[in-house]
Symmetry: C2
Subunit: 333 residues, 2 copies
């Protein structure tokens, strides 16, 4: 065990694309737990698109990270020492330790993980926040019904991959949008989607139309922008668009302007933004389905695991550019 | 009684703005009612923005008017002759006779009006389809709650004027957007809105901001376009945007592109298109409130009544340009 705590702090706010120089590494002392506290060691850090928003100061659902502060993030952590009777050294917990190797916690907000049910890393992906996001958007906001057509963007990602598989389990037609042929093949051949469309290939709208012969009832949107604009033209009457992310615009200096929003009126559709942490009452039901689905092998997933916290900035920039495949994690310690 | 039935038919489809030449006048024979049928004489024709959509062939919620067919429209009609025991000559009914002086009906879909409660023309406005549209959008789609801020565009119009007054009756702050100082004065001084903003005046966003110090919880949108784009920036978390019309875009050859849709995500808002005829189960409850409000003088309205069916095209074009004040009607016979 090193006697330092490596941290990644926000050094400057990005203009457009995130750059390595927006981060700075700090070697702090390992903190000491006080009365009732525990020391946590970060095993895995989750990298997620929402973190891009925290780097800005613009009005959003979450407070931003201050300059000089440790970047936020969900982690799988291990209890190293404990002054809290509820935790024992060796316990594995879900935590929000952020981009650092060690953190002290009073135990509040931690969720103990029962080892052995499913791989630990799944609790940061399919059986964790991204999976619950898929569940809430698809069933609560999207109200998907058997027989309907569900389209999802960023389909091979941590959220999108679960959206399509849950849709299939629910009796829907699942169509994924992803970047590049290998991701498109993956969602159909490995995840069982009915069809996929490569947004980097020519004739996107024509391909979308061919893949959705009965139109679109639910469009689970992770990206916004031009893809959203195209899908709007395929919406069926009373369609629903759970708006989960706008990754296509996170790094744009000029916002994309939506041309086809009139279809929301003519098709009487609902477009609704949401954030999973504001639907806590749905988590237990969703997690039950997701953990069971992973345990039984019905919910498949892929991970990109980057070794070492020192590589987190590069991995995060790659995530925003779609260079990862499946859930992006960092193996920290 | 003339022995001819003047009709206005669709002569050509508009490109951009509607022109007089898109309509043609026809002098048909007055139709004769058969077994079980009645002959109706049109007293008042309602002119409404939705009719613009019926002149196009683009995908929409309603079928379009075929070239050569009589323009559609709601009417207050009087029974002239009846071969149907349910109707007597002199009965006044709500009908969809369209832009013509006479029509034969089998009685289905007609609603008899009890004379004397409120002025007949109110049944085409505040106590009719436009009023119910306001009610459904504000309370069902918009879920307005006491203490919230409600903003409505086209605020002096048939729908908008009811939205603001219902919002006030419900304990909300009501802010109207209208074109020109006289309409803005009207909604505050006569209809009792808390504030109004002239979209034709400079510094629209600054004025909107000043009029909505606590942000916007419900934006009842009748116009779309640049006004919607500005209001999006003022939305509060969990705000609702019932999308009722896009009159600003009805005559545009190039659609307006929406820059600020990202606020739908960051503020977790819902934007939902609707059409009042698909919420028939809500009509009785809404009409009860609306008829009573008019009868008691609590729901005020203004009308622009154009004399003679031959002037309907000009009046309709004026409506699309915002030249009318309040509900636009045509006195037909």
């Amino acid at each position: 065990m090193s006697d330092k705590n490596l941290q990644v702090v926000l050094a400057s706010r990005p203009k457009g694309w995130v750059e390595e120089s927006n981060f700075r590494f700090v070697e702090a002392e390992i903190p000491q737990p006080g009365e009732g506290e525990i020391l946590l060691k970060t095993l895995y850090l989750s990298l997620d698109p929402y973190m891009r928003g925290r780097m800005d100061t613009s009005k959003s659902y979450a407070s931003h990270v201050e300059l000089g502060d440790v970047m936020v993030g969900g982690t799988i952590s291990e209890v190293v020492t404990s002054n809290n009777p509820k935790f024992q050294p060796g316990d594995i917990v879900l935590s929000g330790a952020g981009w650092q190797q060690y953190v002290v916690s009073n135990g509040k907000g931690l969720r103990k993980i029962e080892p052995g049910l499913i791989p630990l890393t799944a609790y940061l992906g399919t059986a964790g926040m991204p999976g619950v996001t898929a569940w809430v958007g698809l069933f609560d906001i999207g109200a998907a019904k058997a027989g309907e057509t569900v389209v999802v963007s960023a389909a091979s990602g941590a959220v999108g991959s679960v959206v399509g598989q849950l849709a299939k389990m629910h009796g829907c037609r699942a169509v994924g949008i992803a970047g590049g042929q290998s991701k498109c093949d993956y969602v159909v051949n490995e995840l069982g989607f009915d069809a996929s469309i490569d947004y980097k290939a020519p004739n996107f709208y024509d391909n979308l139309k061919a893949a959705t012969p009965d139109g679109v009832d639910v469009y689970f949107d992770n990206v916004g922008g031009e893809i959203l604009d195209n899908v709007l033209r395929r919406m069926n009457p009373f369609g629903r668009i759970p708006l989960c992310g706008l990754i296509s615009g996170y790094n744009a200096t000029e916002p994309y302007a939506l041309k086809n929003y009139r279809f929301l009126l003519t098709m009487r559709c609902k477009l609704q933004g949401f954030i999973v942490s504001e639907h806590m009452q749905l988590w237990p039901e969703a997690l039950k389905v997701l953990v069971q689905g992973v345990a039984e092998g019905k919910l498949k997933y892929r991970e990109t695991i980057t070794e070492g916290l020192e590589n987190a900035p590069t991995a995060f920039i790659g995530l925003l550019k779609g260079e990862n495949f499946g859930k992006q994690l960092v193996k920290v310690l």
